[in-house]
């Protein structure tokens, strides 16, 4: 049995069910650790002691009276602060939401509660999930637990950090262009971006609606797969939610890769500037081969356009999604001379620089005279990117790429050049644009101790394949028991 705080969700549930520990004790322990370490890491925006202990007590009561316990009974879970939690402050790390308290739970939050999970708090993020370093939070940036001077990645940096540093065994993030995978890679954990529509977006505060998905984050593939099983499924409140049968994601982790055809984009690997990332990815591919997979060369001719396509589509949708923050029904209001002035002040002062930049870019891309040249053209190129995947999946079952071109960059390194920050998303954006499921799992450590992530991509709704392949990589590289030294 692994000891606190590194036990798995399975172990915690086991202990709670057997009575070795109460859910309340487990929750207290994680809350205390989070309370103690958060000042260093800034991964939590809010710790919900009261709500968490009440939820834990309910699990303990259920156990006492012999009620059936859910798959996450007594397991603490951290939640990205762009997911609505009834009665608990939800901010999107933005000043514009003020002390907004949602009157309802997001679908995934309901699913967690029903599974017996204990929601311990709300994690930090880039404001409205826009960013790749977590430096766009209005409430201070998160630190990478492997090296506090490094970025944890973004936008789900708080969730990745909390999980990696043992402040919670599991976390939920959201992924629009890589926002669970990239921080997962930077912080050395497993993160899954499900197929678009696999997990309901109801209650996820929208960034780019055609791309957003809630994704599980955990220190092991099995835990992430279990969490996916809990949150996935059809929801009538989200018109884009897929009404399809769920996979057995957790079970799929034990299936191995015998006969699996793994697509590799050679040209992409060869162009990698960072030899350590390349080495780690090559090693992961070898281990897949050793376990019976075959490597297949595939081409994604249009993937190089993904940054441009994404940075037109996502800001365009965001410019519209964020129009509701107008200081009338909720959140911040900065009063001006009249209505127009009040709007402009509220939004001008309520949104941070990156959010303003993307609203501007998106508004421009949709405005009269530019719609065809920018927005529509980007959606057409998106079709080419999708078609590349369709063709690639004729000859392979999953595709492997690095998650990021480099391990975690330094805090402050890219803040002055938005474009450079965007370009770091080159590997995570193409699957997002195609709606495909993608997973990042650690495949090595760089010489300076920073984790490196492998991204695995599958055809729509074939998350099971991701879980099976990632488990093989996890077993081979043996990093699942490595923890950030400063927090181990």
């Amino acid at each position: 049995m692994t000891s606190f705080p590194w036990q798995s969700a399975f172990e915690i549930r086991e202990q709670v069910i057997s009575g070795a520990m109460t859910a309340v004790d487990v929750t207290r322990a994680y809350l205390a650790r989070a309370e103690a370490l958060n000042p260093k890491l800034s991964c939590f925006l809010y710790l919900d002691h009261e709500g968490a202990l009440a939820a834990a007590a309910q699990v303990d009561r259920a156990r006492e009276v012999g009620e059936p316990l859910g798959p996450l009974a007594g397991v603490p879970v951290a939640i990205k602060d762009n997911l609505c939690t009834r009665g608990v402050r939800t901010t999107c790390a933005s000043k514009i939401l003020g002390n907004y308290i949602p009157p309802y739970d997001a679908h995934v939050v309901e699913a967690l509660r029903a599974s017996g999970a204990v929601i311990v708090g709300k994690t930090n993020l880039d404001e409205f999930a826009m960013g790749s370093s977590n430096e766009n939070s209005a409430f201070g940036n998160v630190h990478n637990p492997w090296n506090l001077d490094r970025a944890p990645g973004g936008s789900s940096g708080g969730s990745a950090c909390a999980t990696a540093a043992g402040l919670a065994p599991l976390a939920l993030g959201s992924d629009t262009g890589g926002s669970v995978r990239q921080p997962g890679a930077f912080c050395g954990i497993t993160a899954i971006k499900p197929t678009y529509g696999r997990v309901s977006r109801y209650g996820l505060i929208a960034f780019a609606s055609s791309l957003d998905q809630v994704g599980p984050m955990a220190r092991s593939v099995r835990e992430a797969s279990l969490l996916l099983e809990v949150i996935a499924g059809h929801d009538e409140r989200d018109a884009t939610s897929a009404d399809r049968e769920l996979g057995a994601y957790h079970a799929a982790c034990g299936r191995g890769v015998q006969g699996l055809r793994v697509g590799v984009v050679r040209a992409q690997l060869d162009q990698l500037q960072d030899p350590e990332v390349r080495g780690a990815v090559e090693a992961a591919l070898e281990s897949l081969e050793e376990q019976g997979a075959t490597l297949v060369d595939v081409a994604l001719a249009h993937a190089k356009h993904a940054v441009s396509v994404y940075y037109l589509i996502a800001p365009a949708e965001a410019s519209s999604n964020l129009a509701r923050f107008d200081g009338i029904r909720y959140g911040l209001r900065v009063s001006g001379e009249d209505l127009a002035d009040t709007y402009a002040r509220t939004r001008g002062q309520g949104f941070g620089p990156e959010v303003r930049r993307r609203i501007m870019l998106g508004t421009y891309a949709l405005s009269a005279g530019y719609y065809d040249a920018f927005y529509l053209r980007a959606q057409r190129v998106r079709t080419l990117i999708r078609r590349d995947y369709d063709a690639a999946f004729e000859s392979c079952d999953v595709l492997c790429t690095p998650t990021t071109p480099t391990p975690a960059f330094a805090l402050g390194e890219k803040t002055n050049d938005p474009l450079e920050m965007y370009l770091a998303d080159i590997f995570t954006l193409p699957p997002s644009l195609a709606g495909l499921p993608a997973l990042s799992t650690p495949c090595g450590l760089a010489a300076d101790g920073l984790p490196i992530g492998l991204q695995i991509v599958a055809p729509p709704f074939e998350e099971e394949k991701l879980c099976g392949a990632a488990q093989v990589v996890e077993d081979a590289c043996g990093l699942v028991t490595s923890h950030p030294p400063a927090f181990a």
């Binding site: 949602p102 609606s209 884009t240 410019s319 519209s320 509701r324 209505l339 508004t363």
Partner: protein, 488 residues
């Protein structure tokens, strides 16, 4: 002075009578206290998502089919982006490219001339909230979101109308149809049927269109005509004075009897339409469209023609009885019930009798409210009353008195007659005694009759009826008179 030809196109917004809003389950009923009929979706709370209402979409298709439109196999929701306090999300969900219905028409008649007006499109969209002024402290505008999200169709005509009369005829007919197919309650004053008019003028004979003004806020048929006539006159004045008509939005101010510019509010409108990423395309296959076409209620024009052909009504009567869908239903039900009750009565005879009675006696007791109407007694009660007239129990004159009692007491005709001595004198002996008395009292008229002036028969009938205070059965009086007078 050279004549000008007005060119008018109308945009009608009609609320659809579904029970719930277009994208959420809040009720659409009027009259609730402000913001009582709201939820996260129609308030545009962060994270809430729209799901289209099946009934509303079907009503919109019904309207399309009734107006000869082609229903799109795939249509698309789009966001219309602008800021206004009555718009919860900062965008309205509407349709732009690929509307639900296109290319329809409506045939109108003005001064006996038939004319076909093209309908460009009928699309579905959500209504805005209501801005309330002068309530509370009066220093602010209060927003009530009860109406926000109510389903609307926008019916856009071609610029085929050539005058205020045609516009009025078009609107009346459109309203009539929408009411009869159960789509809209036709309530202009309460704003459930709203009209904007695009008005321009051009020198007679010119094919090129003049610059148009958009007239808003026309909320009664009387205003429509007046507002359009005023606007045409205003534009003529501008052109004759050597000026140019400016493209702008103008609003009709009834109190001041003029249209005024709404400039300033229209500055730089750039709605940045784009397909709503929260809503996949709406699909309608041919089979479903056909089923909806089959289920389309009878249109008022067809109904009136059928009544004239089969139910013995004149064009005028048919018009009166089809002024409201519930009155039409009432008439049909009563006519059918009477034909069933009265032996061997033809449908046309029953229709005529019922039609006359409803017009002369029932209608003044009927009140309508939107699509519903309140009747003093049920249609079968009216049929029951006319049936006892038919079987000779009472005459038409007494029937009116009986009906008045039915309205007051809610009792059936039969019960009232049994209680109240309204029954006719059908005693042969009694009638013959009365006839003999009348003949004896009027010997000179008897001579006239015998001399061939059979027209005096009516005089005798009248005298007998007078003597019996209308209670004698007129048919029997007639027969008895003839028998006695014709006796040698």
């Amino acid at each position: 002075m050279a004549g000008y030809e007005p060119v008018i196109g109308l945009e009608v917004h009609a609320q659809m009578r579904s029970r719930t809003k277009l994208f959420c389950g809040c009720p659409t009923d009027y009259g609730a206290p402000p913001n009582e009929h709201t939820c996260p979706v129609c308030l545009g709370l962060p994270g809430a998502l729209p799901v289209p209402n099946e009934k509303a979409i079907e009503l919109a298709v019904r309207a399309g089919l009734a107006l000869g439109c082609q229903v799109a196999p795939h249509s698309r929701f789009a966001r219309k982006n602008y800021f206004y306090p009555d718009l919860a999300k900062g965008y309205q969900i509407s349709q732009f490219e690929l509307p639900l219905n296109e290319k329809g028409h409506l045939d109108i008649e003005v001064e006996g001339e038939a004319k076909r007006i093209g309908i460009t499109r009928i699309h579905v969209e959500e209504d805005a909230a209501k801005n309330l002024h002068g309530i509370g402290s009066g220093a602010v505008t209060l927003v009530d979101f009860n109406r926000a999200g109510t389903p609307l169709i926008e019916i856009v005509s071609e610029p085929d109308l050539r005058g205020a009369d045609e516009a009025e005829a078009y609107l009346k007919k459109l309203r009539d149809i929408l009411m009869f197919i159960g789509v809209n309650d036709g309530n202009l004053e309460e704003g459930s049927f709203r009209c904007d008019a695009n008005v321009s003028i051009r020198p007679a004979g010119q094919t090129e269109l003049g610059t148009r003004a958009e007239l808003k806020n026309i909320n009664s048929f009387r205003f429509v005509k007046k507002a359009i006539e005023h606007e045409i006159a205003r534009q003529e004045g501008v052109l004759q004075g050597g000026g140019e008509v400016v493209q702008e939005t103008r609003t009709w101010l009834e109190a001041q009897n003029k249209t005024v510019s709404m400039r300033g509010k229209e500055e730089a409108h750039d709605y940045r339409y784009f397909p709503d990423p929260d809503l996949p395309p709406l699909a309608f296959d041919a089979k479903r469209i056909e089923a909806l076409r089959q289920a389309l209620p009878e249109l008022p024009e067809a109904k009136r023609a059928r009544w004239q052909k089969d139910l013995g009504l004149t064009e005028y009567d048919a018009g009166v009885l089809s002024a409201h869908p519930e009155v039409a239903k009432y008439f049909e039900a009563a006519a059918e019930a009477l034909a069933k009750r009265a032996d061997k009565m033809k449908a046309s005879e029953a229709g005529k009798k019922v039609g006359n009675f409803i017009q002369s006696e029932v209608l003044r007791h009927v009140s309508t409210d939107g699509l519903s109407a309140t009747f003093p007694v049920g249609p079968s009660a009216v049929a029951g009353l006319l049936a006892v007239v038919e079987d000779g129990t009472i005459n038409g004159k007494i029937a009116k008195k009986v009906f008045a009692t039915m309205v007051d007491t809610g009792k059936s005709a039969r019960a009232i007659i049994d209680e109240g001595g309204f029954a006719q004198v059908t005693d042969k002996g009694a009638i013959e005694d009365e006839v003999r008395r009348v003949l004896e009292a009027n010997p000179s008229q008897v001579q006239q009759y015998k001399g061939g002036k059979t027209g005096v028969l009516g005089f005798f009938v009248g005298q007998v009826m007078k003597a019996t205070q209308g209670a004698a059965n007129p048919k029997m009086v007639n027969e008895t008179l003839k028998r006695l007078l014709d006796a040698p």
